[in-house]
């Protein structure tokens, strides 16, 4: 077996073990609170109604037996039926995933794109005043709770100007406010990271050499500094895209966005355990896979990072 194949295999094994661990923890944490039967039924249900439902769902058996059965079925791709919808739990989660993915990618794209643009403008112009304004606005956004910032945007653009919708999905206009709410946080984050990263490059020999050779400022920034400044930021980007894809719970709830985040809240409140587990599985898988991709990408853009990383 070649080194590359072994490395890939090791990475895949790591993914499986991580996801398995996360799902196991989620399974037990949920069940420690007891059976969901009492909470699925209206308060007017008698103890015998509850016992019947417990039995029908199999929640009256020892926890380890339930866990064993859960694992066995999970290996066959069956994460159980949604207690609320009566359809496979994994399907319920996958139905809601595209909305989350759309919001995550839009917020990420908007945030990262704007941040790069801003930092390149800052570096090319070298304006100290512009830089302090951008950094100050970024700090302000980072310090504002996302929920509060979202409500502010809704109050201005939906309630006051009546320009953009504030609830639900359905077309580009619906995407703007939630994506901007999340995306502005990304802008602030990446401006700070990229700015610092560019700052380190500024004094490097290769920059001085490029300047000495009479390279234009824009050319130096884009062609020489950007690839090097990118390296430390890529890892953070991967992690952050992962957390965006796991469903921005607060923002999805605020904007009635029909994604995984709002599904998880609904399912926890509705005691739909199989759906919560399925959501945890999907989210952790996405997260871990993204991490692996970042590792690979890192190796591709920085030759110093070997395949063994």
């Amino acid at each position: 077996m070649s080194t590359a194949a072994r490395t890939t295999l090791r990475r895949v094994a790591r993914v499986v073990v991580t996801v398995f661990g996360v799902v196991t923890v989620a399974f037990f944490v949920q069940r420690l609170g007891g059976s969901p039967a009492a909470l699925l039924l209206p308060v007017t249900a008698t103890p015998s109604d509850v016992a019947d439902l417990d039995h029908a769902l199999g929640y009256d058996r020892p926890l380890l037996v339930q866990y064993g059965e859960f694992l066995l079925k999970a290996l066959h791709g069956d994460l159980g039926q949604s207690l609320r919808e009566g359809v496979p739990a994994l399907g319920v989660v996958l139905d809601r995933f595209p909305a989350t993915a759309l919001l995550a990618v839009a917020a990420f794209g908007f945030g990262v794109g704007t941040a790069f643009l801003l930092v390149i403008v800052l570096r090319v112009t070298g304006s100290a005043r512009l830089r302090s304004v951008v950094v100050w606005l970024g700090q302000l956004r980072l310090a504002t709770p996302t929920f509060l910032f979202g409500i502010l945007l809704v109050l201005v653009f939906s309630v006051w100007l009546r320009a953009l919708p504030s609830v639900g999905d359905g077309g580009f206009r619906h995407l703007v406010l939630p994506a901007v709410t999340l995306g502005t946080f990304e802008i602030a984050l990446y401006v700070r990271l990229l700015d610092a990263s560019f700052g380190e490059q500024e004094t490097q020999d290769y920059v001085r050499t490029a300047r000495a050779k009479g390279g234009g400022r824009l050319g130096i920034v884009l062609r020489h500094m950007l690839p090097n400044a990118l390296l430390p930021v890529v890892t953070v980007m991967g992690l952050h895209l992962g957390s965006l894809l796991s469903g921005a719970v607060v923002i999805e709830t605020l904007f009635n966005w029909p994604g995984v985040g709002s599904l998880v809240i609904e399912s926890i409140n509705g005691r739909d355990f199989p759906v919560v587990i399925a959501a945890v599985l999907v989210v952790s898988a996405v997260f871990v896979v993204l991490n692996v991709l970042v590792d690979l990408l890192y190796a591709a853009i920085d030759p110093r990072v070997g395949a063994s990383a």
């Binding site: 039924l41 007017t44 008698t46 509850v50 609320r84 139905d95 904007f255």
Partner: protein, 495 residues
Amino acid sequence: MRLRTAVAVVTALAMAAAGCGSGASDAAAKDSVTAAIAAPFRSLDPLMDSSAIPLQKSIFDQLVQIDAKGAVQPGLALSWTSNPDATSWTFALRKGVTFQDGSPLTAQDVAFSIQKVKDTPTSTLRANTAAITTITAVDDATVRFDLNRPFGWFPRQTSVFSVVPKASYDPVKFATAPIGSGSYRVVSWSSGRPAVLARYDAYWGPKPAFANVTVAPTPEADTRLTGLQSGEFDLAALETTQAGTVGTDLTVSSTPSNFVAYLGFNTTVAPLDNVLLRQAVDHAIDRDAIVASLYRGKAKPVGQMVAPVTFGYDPALAPSTFDPALARTLVTQSGYTGTPIRLDYPNDGELQSVNNLAQAVQSQLKDVGIAVELNGRPSTAFVPDWLHKKLPGAYLFSWRPSLLDAGQVLALSFRQAAMGYPTDPTMEQLVSAADAATDQTKRAGLIGQVFARAHDQAYFAPIFDDEYTVGLDSAVAYTPRADGLIIPSEIRRAG
């Protein structure tokens, strides 16, 4: 200079973004409205899940309906009678009712639907069928229920059962695209999104005002309010405390609710097995102060286990007086030694500001010499203990009897077989008699006796009831219901 240019560009972009799409809210005569309700729903199937109950009331028919004031009205059934001991009920059905697929609705469909609920352990409605032994479609227009106990208010109970077509019922299909016989049919719905309903024109009853209603489940109260203010919602369920903040071009309508928050006691163990100590607790609670400071005066003190809107409420029974001196005397007489009493409560349930409420109760009891330890827990931990009567001292809890009948509460609170702690044969007899009475005046009298005895024995210390509030724009009118449901077919045109 460069900075100024950048600022100008950003400002222009922002203004362009704000400008695009303005003018979308033209005030043309509406034929469709959007209503925001608080509770998310995960299935429209009325046999398996009741989370979509407000929609189910419009999509399907039930044997009887409960009106906005809480009275029972004919639905599919035009009339109903029972045998003398109220163990068998016969309903005469309306003729000529059709499902939204055109097929006729008969007694067979009624019997099938309720039997299916009874036979499905995972249905969240199944507990409502506990009293039913057999369901018989006597002929196409008559259905009979034989019960395992005298049940004088069974017709009201049937309002929870929606009727689906026996021939085409399929649990998977009906979860998202059910067929009913109600005034609205489902156009589209998928999990997490609003449900779009369209008027069913062959409906037997009054024609709803709007051709289309969209129901948007919106758990976040702030979102319901801003959605109403931005014109995306025409009607929204609001929290009582939001009522003052909606703005000028909107109206707010409130109604007293069926909600009651109460303090319950484990009356079987010391020290709360002592009636004097329980009475002391009852008189030590300053209900007026709690209502004014924690609920902005939008709730009312209550002295029995149901609110005034619920059948069986006895107007003669006033809330216990706040009398710390009397409470202190009662504590002394009871021989209470100062052992701390544990106060359990769910800290994530329906009771708003529950942690503050628990602390208020704790400090008010401390003032009269009763020591209380707080034990707030998630519902997952609290409810099973409540259900199996494992709470050691006192507990804070609440309910909203969805059928608007004290019968729902009596059985739970005072029957040994259920969640009631009191072991009181007189009470059991009274509850059984109240359950069996078919004459509603007689029933109300018996329920009054139950509450009077509960008050004398201080089995519970009811604290307050609250209000339901809806916000409306200028296009719609809605009479808030005593059960808090927002039912699409009850939305009217303003003016």
